[in-house]
């Protein structure tokens, strides 16, 4: 990289910086670049956590597919995780339009773990996944805005409750 390029911001970044300031307020951005709406960082946070929640739901789907006679609670827990993802992506007071996220897009999340052999082992793996998710959601709540923190704490509570109820089912399968 040349010295000049290192010292001076590119034209693009100058315009991007201007776009978030007074010029954007006036609705006029020179240079022909289309104005980009500022993306609320919380929208990205919500999309990222929603994907974590969906991964949990997919683990349930895999267990139900492998063990069709498994506890019917599993399907309702999976549906609750789907509701969590919808709540995270849905409109919230004061948040920017969530349409800027791409909820359907594949994300570079960790590969799905292999299905354990036997229903009890599969349930145990779900218990561990729910417990880890609840701890993670609790930490995320600690860093979030008040509205999102309240939602994340509730989701953490739901995940912890799933783990507790599933623990009771392990060994009865």
């Amino acid at each position: 990289m040349s010295e000049a390029a290192a010292r001076w911001p590119s034209r693009r970044s100058v315009l991007a910086a201007a776009g978030t300031g007074l010029l954007a307020l006036a609705g006029c951005v020179p240079g022909g670049e289309p104005p980009r709406p500022p993306v609320d960082p919380e929208v990205r946070t919500r999309a990222r956590i929603a994907e974590e929640v969906r991964a949990l739901s997919r683990r349930y789907a895999a267990v139900v597919a492998a063990f069709p006679d498994a506890d019917p609670q599993l399907a309702s827990f999976a549906a609750e995780h789907d509701a969590h993802a919808r709540a995270l992506l849905g409109p919230s007071p004061g948040a920017a339009t969530p349409g800027t996220s791409s909820p359907g897009a594949p994300s570079p999340s960790a590969p799905e773990p292999e299905m354990p052999v036997g229903l009890d082992a599969a349930l145990q793996s779900l218990v561990a996944a729910e417990q880890a998710a609840a701890r993670r959601r609790g930490r995320q709540a600690g860093r979030a805005s008040p509205v999102l923190a309240r939602l994340l704490a509730s989701i953490a509570g739901s995940e912890a409750a799933h783990a507790a109820l599933l623990s009771g089912a392990v060994g009865t399968a």
Partner: protein, 141 residues
């Protein structure tokens, strides 16, 4: 958030914990065996949390909310089934108070509220024998 605001939020949770301690006393009397032991453990746990909250309020310069002399129960508690329904309701209402505290508090106190909501959600699910998608958020369930 000022210490006075934090005290107001903690007093709300403290008042709710007083009610829960009272309610478990009523519910436990109608239970036997394992559920009775579970109610006893819950009663102990909520009394400890109540004392912890009173200590936090005092530490922030407040006067801890005292327990009320009487509480209105949602209905008569005459059977083990009534007792389990009451215990579920107590934990659900407590979860909602903790959820509002999560939004109102920061730092260590928010972490306490997150734990409080989680414990109430688990206890409610055990008494209910099932889960809800959004414990503590009555507007979503």
């Amino acid at each position: 958030m000022t210490g006075r605001d934090e005290v107001a939020v903690l007093q709300e949770v403290l008042a709710a914990e007083h009610a829960v301690v009272y309610g478990y006393g009523v519910a436990g009397a109608r239970l036997t065996g394992g559920p009775r032991r579970r109610a006893q453990q819950a009663w102990d746990g909520h009394r400890a949390r109540r004392d912890e909250l009173a200590g936090l309020v005092t530490g922030l310069g407040g006067e801890p909310e005292p327990t009320a002399t009487t509480y209105n129960l949602p209905g008569p508690v005459q059977s083990a089934e009534d007792a389990r329904a009451l215990a579920t309701l107590l934990e659900e209402r407590l979860a909602a108070v903790w959820a509002d505290a999560v939004a109102a508090l920061d730092g260590d106190l928010r972490d306490l509220a997150v734990r409080g909501l989680g414990e109430a959600a688990v206890a409610a699910a055990r008494w209910r024998g099932g889960s809800v998608a959004f414990p503590g958020l009555p507007e979503r369930n």
